[in-house]
């Protein structure tokens, strides 16, 4: 549809979407998600630049995780559109890797670290293909990247929180995707794990992959990320960290919940 046609359709009251930039790994248009009567995410537009490291930032209950899950098709959209690499989700699922919140699963589940990483090969293995030696080697290599190879045969309940988070990252690495979506990967982890995870994420970016994190620690945004999406149910701002991660935008996002004094202490990009 060309622009004139779009305008006409728009005037006729039809819901139209402007074509998303096809090079964007993840583009959302007027995305709305609702669990009950109140929307959790309302009409969010966002375009994640290719090969970027993007942080999704907002207060508790702002809909950050919901936005990620809606982008993955795990929770249903009420309206709006998600395009991944310019295509509908169903066609490009194999190009996306996902790291859910660590607390979303039961770590007492009877399985070993290596089995969790092998879950990342599900799309390859399908229902009945046997796990072969080369699959296992790839899983071990992913564990090595996060420094967890020695733990391959441990029961997952024996791991510390940080180790669990690294295993989840290893599983996402096994997916060998181009777009990595992570939900609070730094939540409640030790300093060594945080370092290990950010190193892996930066190496992913260096390999020309795209990383999107739901992130809660405002102090590390400028060090870790180059693009931000500030949301509080609605989109507040989106753009490069250097121009978007500003005291003004943070105040708008967090409202009274973030004291000005706190913002002053943050490492904001040099304006």
């Amino acid at each position: 549809m060309n622009n004139a046609a779009l305008e006409l359709a728009s005037e006729a009251g039809e819901r139209v979407f402007r074509p998303a930039p096809t090079d964007s790994p993840l583009a959302m248009q007027e995305l709305t998600v609702s669990y009950g009567e109140k929307p959790a995410v309302f009409s969010i537009d966002a375009t994640v630049p290719a090969e970027s490291m993007t942080a999704i930032i907002g207060p508790n209950g702002a809909g950050k995780s919901t936005l990620l899950k809606a982008a993955l098709g795990i929770v249903p959209r009420l309206s709006g559109r998600v395009m991944v690499f310019g295509a509908p989700l169903a066609q490009v699922m194999h190009r996306i890797a996902y790291v859910p919140q660590r607390a979303s699963v039961d770590w007492d589940f009877p399985t070993r670290v290596i089995d969790v990483v092998l879950m990342g090969l599900y799309r390859e293995l399908g229902l009945l293909h046997l796990v072969r030696h080369h699959h296992r080697e790839r899983a071990i290599a992913c564990l090595e990247r996060v420094g967890m190879a020695d733990f391959a045969d441990r029961q997952i309940g024996q791991l510390s929180g940080g180790q669990q988070q690294r295993v989840f990252l290893a599983r996402a690495l096994a997916q060998n995707a181009e777009l990595y979506l992570l939900d609070e990967p730094f939540a409640g982890v030790d300093a060594a794990t945080e370092k290990a995870i950010i190193d892996v994420l930066k190496s992913l970016k260096a390999e020309k992959r795209t990383v999107v994190c739901v992130h809660h620690d405002l102090a590390t945004v400028t060090d870790y990320f180059d693009h931000v999406l500030l949301i509080n149910v609605r989109k507040i701002a989106e753009g490069p960290v250097a121009t978007t991660f500003t005291a003004e935008n943070l105040q708008k996002t967090y409202g009274g919940r973030l004291a000005t004094a706190h913002i002053d202490q943050l490492k904001l990009p040099a304006a």
Binding site: L72, A90, W107, P110, M119, R123
Partner: protein, 308 residues
């Protein structure tokens, strides 16, 4: 063990084992999904479904029973939703009310209907009628190769065997997505596993097991078969693959030991009558769980402080 064993005990024993295994397999996943009481709910809803199916068709056969149970399940789901909305009650309470009411209605229907010609009365519905599933035409072990005698095997055996084989196959084929979505539903959805359909499929599979096992162990005791062997198995290992094998072993052990103890236990103790085999099977499965809680290698929750 000769003619008498083959005639009286072989088929009840086999049916008991198959019923226990058919229930234990989906039970493993139900427990890990914290849905163990779904098995309970299903076993309750099965009863009115089967009774209504019998009243409508006048025969006890597989398809009407399955359809009746499925119909009752749909009615139950609609009722729960209605009570939850109209009565503004929390879902757990709504479920409890619906399942027990439906079950009670099933008992009343059963009492009032004329089922004298078939194996369907309140007692059997509750505890099963395992002992009565005997092989009349057997004349010893040789009958296992006699086509005429084999044809006269109780039809319940074939029904239970078919259900057990089907459930075993489904468990193997859908092992990977079942395990993945049980552990991490969000990730499973993100790699394209239809998690909602899989959950529904698991519940339907459990319902098939419950309906098929109805003859053998009755609608109440079936719940023990869903929960006890997998729960005991969980305490034996930290790998799901091995847990499922243990659950099959415990299910088999419960069935064999329960049947033998029910038949001969009272005699050994000097009593005259045998006791309900299904009741004893459930009791044995409970004892196995108790022993596993006390002595199994992984009885402490992983990650719990040592010595706690």
């Amino acid at each position: 063990m000769g003619v008498e064993f083959v005639q009286l005990s072989l088929t009840p024993l086999l049916i008991g084992i198959l019923a226990a295994i058919a229930c234990a397999l989906p039970g493993n996943f139900l427990i890990l999904r914290r849905q163990a009481l779904i098995g309970d709910a299903i076993s309750h809803v099965v009863l009115p479904g089967i009774v209504v199916a019998f009243l409508l068709t006048g025969v006890i056969s597989t398809w009407p029973m399955l359809l009746g149970a499925a119909g009752a399940a749909v009615v139950a789901v609609v009722l729960i939703e209605a009570i939850r909305r109209v009565g503004r009650i929390e879902p757990g309470a709504a479920m409890g009310v619906v399942f027990t009411s439906l079950f009670a209605a099933g008992v009343l229907l059963l009492e009032q209907s004329d089922t004298s010609g078939v194996h369907l009365d309140v007692e059997h519905a509750l505890y099963g009628n395992l002992e009565s599933l005997i092989w009349f035409s057997a004349e010893g072990w040789g009958s296992l190769t006699d086509p005429a005698a084999l044809a006269a095997l109780p039809p319940e055996l074939f029904r239970m065997a078919a259900a057990a084989v089907l459930i075993g196959l489904l468990t193997v084929v859908f092992w990977r997505p079942l395990k993945l979505s049980t552990f991490d539903e969000g990730f499973a959805g993100a790699v394209g596993i239809p998690t909602a359909a899989l959950s529904l499929g698991l519940v339907i599979t459990a319902a098939v097991a419950a309906v098929a096992a109805f003859d053998a162990v009755g609608s109440i005791i079936v719940i023990a078969m869903f929960i006890c062997p997998p729960a005991a198995a969980r305490l034996m290992t930290n790998r799901l693959e091995i847990q499922v094998l243990w659950s099959v072993a415990f299910a088999t052990l419960s069935a064999v030991l329960g049947y033998v103890l029910a038949g001969y236990g009272p005699l050994w103790l000097g009593a005259d009558n045998a006791v309900s085999a299904a009741g004893m099977i459930a009791t044995v499965s409970g004892l196995i769980l108790a022993l596993a809680c006390l002595f199994a290698p992984h009885r402490a929750r992983i990650g719990a402080p040592r010595g706690a």
